[in-house]
């Protein structure tokens, strides 16, 4: 009985494709980091804003499980489906959006020898998969049949065009230095110097584009509460609303795992300690990567307490007129670096 259970764990749960999607950096890790991130966001904002932040649930640990209470409430709340919405896409959009926002992890390795699927183009596949969730956002906006939703969806579609290019250009800015589009190789090449030192310009452009992509301040434009209520999710309630709120945090975390692999050295400094191979080659590198992604995410939620919200034309103008050029400069810088390396 026990043997078969261990076998089950070993063969099914620890089988890379399942492990990646379900444990790390997949569902479980993402949910836990969501818990931490949202709690930290509220606490950081609270400290800066002369108040305590959440404390009512579990005051001894600083209200850390507030989100569990929130989720429970969302789950028990009635899901109101307005008569005027297009029901099927209305229901599908947030659920599919949440699942799709998890998909990129299927292409992201978090250890040197243990990956979901051996791919030579894993960076490109991961980036391609990150571009999908906004489409579901626009679907939700359209299905809601609400003017505020519609405006939110329109804003989102304007933003996609602006940030996707920056994300991809700045990722290429890093890829040309490593000369590969495989995460595992890219990380192993950052053994001595991290990507952020080799190409800081691309790193900054990538960082800002991620802010824009995931609706962090000051780019919280597509669901600007004071202007268009809740953007595409105006008509949602209950669990569907909870899921739709989770999408942007999930995306942020996934983007930041990519960021830490591309620019922050991934699981470097890599070291092995004795014991089981699983601990040395999976658990420790995974922890390092996830910690790095969490720290970057924390700096991103910190901006909520500092900035206001930009106008859509200002954000688009800034993206096309400034950050696009920065990404191009980063690409040139990366190519120049590679060229010089080869010459010397």
């Amino acid at each position: 009985m026990l043997d078969s259970f261990i076998l089950f764990i070993k063969n099914i749960i620890l089988w890379p494709p399942v492990f990646y999607l379900l444990i790390a950096p997949g569902l479980v890790t993402i949910l836990i980091s969501l818990l931490l991130l949202i709690w930290a966001e509220r606490k950081i904002a609270g400290r800066i804003q002369m108040r305590y932040g959440p404390l009512e649930i579990s005051p001894k640990i600083g209200g850390a499980i507030q989100l569990v209470a929130d989720l429970t409430r969302y789950m028990l709340q009635e899901i109101i489906i307005p008569r005027t919405v297009d029901t099927l896409p209305y229901l599908i959009a947030p659920i599919a959006g949440f699942i799709i926002s998890l998909l990129p992890v299927a292409a992201i390795p978090i250890s040197p020898i243990y990956f979901p699927s051996p791919m030579t183009n894993s960076i490109i596949v991961a980036l391609a998969l990150t571009t999908l969730p906004p489409i579901l956002n626009i679907l939700a906006a359209w299905a809601s049949n609400n003017k505020f939703s519609l405006i939110g969806g329109a804003r989102e579609s304007f933003l996609i065009a602006a940030y996707e290019l920056i994300v991809i250009l700045s990722a290429i800015g890093a890829m040309v230095i490593y000369g590969t589009s495989d995460f595992t190789e890219a990380v192993s090449l950052q053994k001595n110097l991290w990507g952020i030192i080799l190409n800081p310009i691309s790193a900054i452009a990538f960082y800002v584009a991620v802010l824009m992509a995931t609706g962090r301040f000051p780019f919280e434009i597509a669901e600007a509460e004071a202007e268009i209520v809740m953007g595409a999710y105006t008509e949602y309630s209950g669990l569907l609303y909870g899921l739709s709120m989770g999408i942007s945090y999930t995306r942020m975390f996934v983007y930041n795992v990519i960021f830490s692999l591309l620019f922050l050295g991934g699981w470097q400094p890599f070291f092995t300690i004795g014991g089981h191979i699983f601990i040395s080659y999976v658990l420790i590198p995974a922890t390092v990567v996830i910690l790095k992604a969490l720290i970057v995410s924390l700096t991103m939620v910190f901006t909520r307490a500092i900035y206001g919200r930009l106008r859509i034309d200002q954000a688009l103008g800034g993206a096309w007129k400034f950050w696009f050029l920065v990404a191009i400069v980063g690409l040139i810088w990366g190519s120049a670096l590679t060229y010089l390396q080869q010459v010397i």
Binding site: I44, R47, I48, M50, R51, Y52, L55, F302, A305, I306, Y307
Partner: protein, 171 residues
């Protein structure tokens, strides 16, 4: 003496990129400073409570022995919250309905015998609309004693030069 108009211009419009970066850095640094050393102005309300100073216009208490039943309080009440009722043979007494009371304190101030006074308590929870009518003996009990002898910690608020407000525990 008196006021005069002074024309002014908004300083530093059209900042350069460098100045903008400096302002970004300053704002981020200020946020980080507050993150490290927060300046809290809130307190944890249901666990601790604040009691206002003497002179606060809280609930109203009647001193039945002083009252002469002149009904001035009922006449000046702007919200018609205070009304007179027949408490016995030839004896009129006020009763207050907190459903309507706006705590202006006119009744307290017009009472010629000083039979009405303010308690410092303001936070009260009522179960029903009927229980908001304070009549007879109920109106003569001082709610402050109840609050001050409760389990909750009580703070007094002071204005402070550095921290804005500070909360001094009374006990």
């Amino acid at each position: 003496m008196g006021g005069k108009y002074v024309e002014k211009v908004v300083p530093s419009r059209n900042l350069s990129l460098l100045n903008k970066a400096k302002n970004h850095a300053e704002a981020l640094a200020l946020g980080a400073k507050f993150l490290v050393r927060p300046l809290r102005i809130t307190y944890r309300y249901p666990i601790v409570k604040e009691i206002p100073d003497q002179g606060y216009r809280g609930l109203i208490v009647l001193d039945d022995n002083k009252c002469i039943g002149c009904s001035l309080c009922a006449r000046i009440c702007p919200a018609s919250a205070m009304k007179m009722f027949q408490a016995g043979e030839k004896k009129l007494r006020p009763a207050v309905n907190y459903e309507r009371c706006v705590f202006c304190g006119y009744c307290v101030d017009i009472c010629p015998e000083n039979a009405l006074k303010h308690a410092r308590t303001h936070d009260v929870v009522f179960e029903s609309g009927e229980s908001m009518l304070y009549i007879g003996e109920k109106f003569t009990l001082d709610p402050d004693t109840q609050i001050l002898s409760g389990k909750v910690r009580i703070y007094r608020v002071r204005v402070d030069e550095k921290r804005g407000l500070i909360y001094e525990p009374i006990r």
